[in-house]
């Protein structure tokens, strides 16, 4: 995997189940998330409802954004979002894209999922100037003002949008908002840490 920080596929799933009926998580295959916590069969597994609630509560992403998607877990806590058809469980290399790390105190969305679904976000989005965006993209931590909640934020900037907003005439990818998400940042003690995975970091050079 392209080195997300705080990765570590630790074996949290092997903790003793609270209820004897719960099965252990199987690390080598994809299992579809249960719709709700009541339908949970596997110890510690997030439910579809909880995942959608997380994106809604934390970032204001409307729940219906995910109506056409299914969520899957492989490994301990890694959640994938998928638009296609597949039976559960399924043993293949990948299904859709990784979107969220669960089974830890603070769930953490992935950079790529934030770029894909972040345009629908309204909360916990920190707007960066072009200079700050460049540092963020390069993996640098920076001191920034932020009045909102601490924790994982969506770092975003305005780019390629005219003052009145530039609609995507041949696609709907920009409809969500004017800010374009860059990735995930961790905000604590006045500092925004870039958690863009190493392989995804870039020194972006602007001609202007």
């Amino acid at each position: 995997m392209a080195g997300e920080r705080s990765e570590g596929d630790d074996e949290r799933a092997s903790e003793t189940p609270e209820s004897g009926e719960l099965e252990e998580n199987v690390g080598y295959r994809f299992d579809r998330l249960p719709a709700t916590a009541d339908e949970r069969r596997v110890e510690g597994r997030a439910s579809r409802e909880e995942v959608i609630e997380y994106f809604h509560d934390r970032f204001g992403i409307p729940p219906e954004t995910f109506d056409e998607y299914t969520f899957w877990e492989k490994g301990a806590g890694k959640i994938w979002v998928y638009a296609g058809e597949a039976p559960s469980p399924i043993e293949i290399e990948a299904i859709g894209m990784t979107c969220l790390r669960t089974r830890q105190e603070h769930w953490k969305p992935t950079t790529d999922a934030v770029q894909r679904f972040g345009p629908y976000a309204t909360d916990c989005v920190i707007e960066l100037s072009r200079e700050e965006a460049r540092a963020f993209t390069d993996g640098q931590d920076q001191e920034l003002e932020w009045d909102g909640d601490w924790g994982y934020l969506i770092a975003a900037h305005e780019i390629g949008v005219e003052p009145e907003g530039r609609p995507g005439r041949d696609g709907d990818a920009v409809e969500g908002g004017k800010l374009e998400p860059l990735g995930v940042g961790l905000y604590v003690h006045g500092e925004l840490q870039s958690v863009v995975p190493k392989g995804r970091q870039r020194s972006v050079s602007d001609a202007r």
């Binding site: 058809e85 293949i92 990948a94 859709g96 990818a173 920009v174 050079s205």
Partner: protein, 302 residues
Amino acid sequence: MEPFERYRPIIDDFEAFLEACRRPLGTAVRVNTIKASVDRTIAVLEETGVAYEQADWNPRVLTLETDSPGSTWTSFHGFTYGQEEVSAVPAGVLDPQPGERVWDACGAPGGKTTQIAALMDDQGTVVANDNNLGRLSALRFNAERLGATSLAVTNQDARNFSMKPFDFDSFDRALVDAPCSCEGTIRKNPDALEDWSEDHLHSVAGIQKGILRRAIQTTREGGTVVYSTCTFAPEENEAVVQHALETESCEVVDFDLALEHSSGLESWDDEEFDSSLENAARIYPHQNDTGGFFVAKLEVTA
């Protein structure tokens, strides 16, 4: 360029062909409409001072004036993917529709897979396969950067691909962008002909035939299979499709292509090909100032 002498009889204006093969290629990118429209992408390029030129045959293909297309804002945001202009042809010929089931038999590193997903508005199921795990990890990385959510990634030998992981038993369409001798990439990779030999052509042709046959078998009646290579050798192109015509239920069909190209061959050495192979397209570097490609479109008839 020695090996290319064998194509003198089949290429019009062979000197122009050789001359084009010696010229390096510009930096082309494809706009990833999963994440941004062409307009939006162009607005970002303009705002950030990256000069571009739009291909007249395909508005989603741009040539950028930069040596590092990977260090642009459009790349970081996944709005663009570095992909040779002519390599954007096969997915267009495949013409996948939203909601369909599509197999990309030789998918890594993912240029055409993600283009297929984009053409389907990222709705439906694109099974992206490759037998090389290392290349598959590049595919996964690229697919995530481009935000493709409709991919199921498998690691199988496409020649005996098993549908077992899935609960459907055929695809609507399949792309076989086959491993090949890569003669047509000479402008990007001047060493492309270093290991060239006729024996090599014949041995990859065996693999190509196996993959194409499996693609036809796994595609439903009435479905579409596109076969493409980035090479000129008829042994890897018309002869492979001819083999499929003789062994599987399919026919070669016509398609529109807004790039200048030549028709598929009707014979090579002492082998005659079915006349329908005329419908295939040979794209030579001097015709549109691109790399070289071969594309054939098949319809499955049973």
